[in-house]
Symmetry: C2
Subunit: 351 residues, 2 copies
């Protein structure tokens, strides 16, 4: 398929560690509350409304592409969407984030989860992907995504966000067979959903394992790695590059790499030169400026950009990004400034 011949887009080239004319850059959560255009739509529509209406999701996806010179778009969606057709009663509570009123805590809860069929139950995401692909300029590929089984499973067991992940980890430790059954169900749905995204036109897939840094490396290997590996391997077979992302992952980066990913997404706690030392040279790396640096004065902001570029210097396969998503009150002008700085500072003759 076409993704396997040598790509032209800077972002796709970096995923494959090919030479690039400039370091590509995009931002996790680049469509979001820090943009006035997004807030205008959110004033009229809930988060889930936007996800459910392909025209709105496509419009929101395009907002940062139109506003900044970013090198990729990411489809507007939510990592918890696949839980709804599986049977989760999901709502977004103002100021508190996601809430699932029927959390999964027992073997029979797991047995009751339905095997969702993504093309049918989440067809609105695929429709949004098709709409965005029609609008995207050449050279700006579209990223599809899903939450990884541990992170999605944690939300499902906790019933929402958690600092300690005590229910999820307690479940994992005390009901290992049921945990594996839950992971298997989530993996099946996730693979089906991501393959549908690729079919619809997603050119790269990011797997968000945002909370996986909460685990001891031994626990990661025992309870999580095989399940993430199954997702990444199934998507990798399509020839589409995969980005495997987590936060707080300093001690599990080699294990995440072993689970898979054309690119490993690293948060700001691990300088990229250290990350590459742990990962080896045969994988691309995405990251990793602290999202709060976007709140700094211009000179300090530039120091943060330089710090990331210096740690990545001389290596093929760096995609500039934050270490986690853009925060809601981020000054919008700083986002554009970082895009332009990264492009200007990394302009190369070759490529």
């Amino acid at each position: 398929m076409s993704e396997q011949s040598e790509p032209k887009a800077r972002f796709l080239r970096a995923c494959r560690r090919l030479p690039v004319d400039r370091t590509p850059i995009w931002f996790m959560r680049q469509a979001g509350r820090y943009m006035a255009e997004y807030r205008a739509i959110r004033a009229e529509h809930s988060l889930l409304d936007i996800c459910h209406q392909p025209e709105l999701a496509a419009e929101v996806t395009m907002q940062p592409v139109n506003a900044f010179d970013v090198d990729a778009a990411i489809i507007f969606a939510d990592i918890l969407l696949p839980l709804v057709p599986m049977g989760a009663d999901l709502a977004y509570v103002k100021g508190e984030g996601p809430a699932i009123s029927n959390p999964v805590r027992t073997k029979s809860d797991v047995a009751a989860l339905k095997p969702a069929e993504a093309r049918q139950s989440l067809g609105f995401v695929m429709e949004a992907i098709r709409l965005v692909r029609e609008q995207l300029p050449e050279g700006v590929p579209l990223i599809g995504f899903a939450g990884a089984p541990f992170t999605v499973g944690s939300y499902l067991i906790e019933g929402g966000s958690s600092r300690s992940h005590v229910h999820a980890k307690g479940f994992m430790y005390s009901q290992e067979n049921t945990w594996n059954a839950l992971m298997d169900k989530l993996v099946d749905v996730t693979i089906d959903y991501l393959l549908a995204q690729v079919e619809a036109g997603a050119q790269v897939i990011q797997l968000f394992d945002s909370w996986v840094g909460e685990l001891h490396p031994d626990d990661y290997r025992r309870y999580v790695q095989p399940h993430s590996a199954r997702v990444l391997s199934a998507i990798g077979e399509t020839g589409v590059p995969t980005i495997h992302f987590g936060t707080g992952t300093a001690t599990i980066l080699p294990d995440m790499k072993e689970a898979g990913g054309t690119v490993i997404g690293v948060d700001w706690r691990t300088p990229l030169d250290q990350a590459w030392e742990l990962l080896g040279d045969d994988v691309a790396v995405q990251g990793n400026m602290d999202p709060t640096a976007l709140f700094a004065d211009p000179d300090i902001l530039e120091q943060h950009v330089d710090r990331v570029l210096a740690a990545a210097a001389g290596r093929p396969g760096h995609i500039f990004n934050l270490g986690h998503g853009i925060l809601p009150k981020t000054p919008v002008e700083n986002v554009g400034a970082v895009v332009d700085m990264v492009h200007a500072k990394t302009a190369r003759v070759e490529g």
Copy 2:
């Protein structure tokens, strides 16, 4: 002073990397909601009430010492107490944790903070320390503590808990001189407070920098390390051992060690053998079982204990603890089981 001659208590010996008859163990937040005795007192008194009444604080401090064979007590107090005499309007909101209604955001906010005099304004803590020392059995030393300037400063700037620490880091990045002025004030109050605790009878001091793992190593060195170092050096001069604790610190452990501490507290994300490799052999280490492991079945719980002991095996200067505080719904019988397991598994002939 007596602390500098060779101590007998197992916990004090481990702090100094002297041979011990068994690995000492205590738990962060060992006095807390998981104990029925504690809940009985909390049913009648608020958290701050207990702190303010030395008899109650002493009673609560003794509860885990009476219930389990732990090798240290830690005075019952709250890391935010010193902020109150400085001018913070602190309350505890049910289910949400600490709330400061007048957060510090500007240069004049920092200027308005009062230089608290701990012996006067926080005398109730010192009185509780004196009461506990009278009750403690020989062989169970008392730990005093304070929050480190970054962690306490983050609460003060955010006005409470925060996942992103965006206000604190934005302040740090954009108002560096004012940030340093704030840190200086917090350091002065913290040193005064901790010296008063030592005078009152605290035999070890733990500095809690719980959220410092949110920082890039360069930011830690620039904005935090000198301030923590000033606290740890002032307390170190008394001859009392210090424990320097943080979570998510895999990439800043060497910098934390450079800031100071007789013992470095490590969370569960960094296996202790890796931690020691980063820290070197000339420092003791405390930790680091995942607090959620206490929710596991007995056989899995034992695997977690064994994992920590194996990673620490053969090294002098290991203090068994969790990687962070005991969680509120922890099964109380598992706490006692871990104490007994650690003592039984590490019993030595010498010492």
